[in-house]
């Protein structure tokens, strides 16, 4: 596969990969870095790309793994004053608390989800993937995906209702 073919087949995926990375990392620049790294990795493996059923699935899986690795590296072990091992997250959340706007509230609610739930919601509700595709990307079975999807959606609804009440009380 030469560079032109690669650009035609793989470049169109860039925004989808970016959205996925940004959902996991909640950082714009880092998400862009990850997408670059994923493309380079795919480029280095271009001879074997034809063996894959779906380059898109491969790209998404690679993105997922890279993001999860980065999240792991964010947590530094730290000796606290009381001698209990603690962990600090070194990066500030890009999404800052802002209850004024409905959309901001949803963004916050999404950040409350577990990593797995974030990924499932992103793949289903934003990108519209079928369960089969999500199962391949996340290496989960379809039932588990459905259950987690339901939990995630209910959790968002609940968070929205709570912050809405809070907002009413403030006013």
């Amino acid at each position: 596969m030469n560079k032109q073919e690669f650009q035609i087949q793989v470049y169109p995926l860039k925004n989808k990969l970016f959205r996925f990375a940004k959902r996991i990392l909640d950082q714009t620049e880092e998400a862009e870095d990850v997408v670059q790294e994923v493309f380079i990795k795919l480029w280095m493996r271009r001879e074997t790309l034809a063996e894959y059923r779906s380059i898109e699935a491969l790209a998404m899986i690679t993105t997922k793994n890279m993001c999860l690795d980065r999240i792991k590296k964010r947590k530094y072990p730290v000796e606290r004053m009381d001698n209990h091992r603690g962990y600090i997250e070194s990066l500030p959340m890009e999404t800052t608390p802002d209850y004024s706007d409905e959309i901001s509230r949803i963004r916050l609610a999404m950040n409350e989800l577990t990593e797995q739930q974030k990924m499932i919601v992103q793949l289903r509700d934003v990108e519209g993937y079928e369960f089969e595709a999500i199962a391949e990307i996340l290496d989960m079975n379809e039932n588990a995906i459905r259950v987690n999807l339901s939990r995630a959606r209910k959790k968002i609804r609940e968070t929205l209702n709570n912050t809405r009440i809070y907002e009413y009380q403030r006013n």
Partner: protein, 189 residues
């Protein structure tokens, strides 16, 4: 799509039981219609997902940077794992054959120390040549892009060493049987 249908779909939605088509119906409904009061709480969620689909990389240099980095990647033909296994198997097989033949050869030599005839050397060389051909056959079957000359070199070395060995044992036999020097038999050369 009437309101009752929408309500039913919303129920299914929170249970994770809607299809992708039904989910699109819900998103469209909340995007395009006057939403009744009792359903208004759901609108932000579906609007949010509709909006998120449009998120893109805003960095104008992204494509150019990526292009540059792709050019930097060296053109290494990555050897796939499978062909490495074939290569290793072929080399291992070759080494085993080499060791077996040499082992045999040494055994023959130690049995017939004083009778290292040109004829004996010839037949061992023949055996060696045959072993070499076997290896070539094996490696030709298994290998795609590996330089076969590498294997030939191993065997040529073996052949060389064998020739050296045979002359060594001849001299050794002379040392062990000094009488041979004085009364050379027709066997040694």
């Amino acid at each position: 799509m009437n309101i009752k249908e929408i309500e039913r779909l919303i129920e299914k939605y929170y249970e994770g039981e809607t299809s992708t088509t039904e989910e699109q119906i819900l998103r469209d409904f909340f995007q395009n219609n006057e939403v009744p009061e009792h359903l208004r709480e759901h609108k932000p969620l579906f609007s949010y997902f509709t909006g998120e689909k449009d998120v893109e990389i805003t960095n104008p240099d992204f494509d150019r940077l990526l292009d540059e980095r792709l050019d930097e990647v060296p053109v290494i033909r990555s050897v796939s794992w499978r062909s490495s296994i074939y290569t290793m198997t072929a080399v291992a097989a070759g080494l085993i054959i080499l060791v077996a033949v040499m082992f045999n050869f040494r055994q023959d030599l130690s049995k017939t120390r004083t009778a290292s005839t040109p004829a004996a050397t010839q037949s061992d060389q023949a055996a060696f040549i045959e072993a070499r051909q076997t290896l070539l056959f094996v490696s030709a079957r298994f290998n795609n892009g590996i330089n076969e000359i590498q294997h030939l070199e191993v065997f040529d070395k073996g052949l060389e060493q064998m020739n050296k060995l045979s002359s060594f044992y001849q001299y050794e036999s002379l040392i062990i049987n000094p009488d041979e020097l004085q009364n050379p038999s027709s066997n040694s050369n």
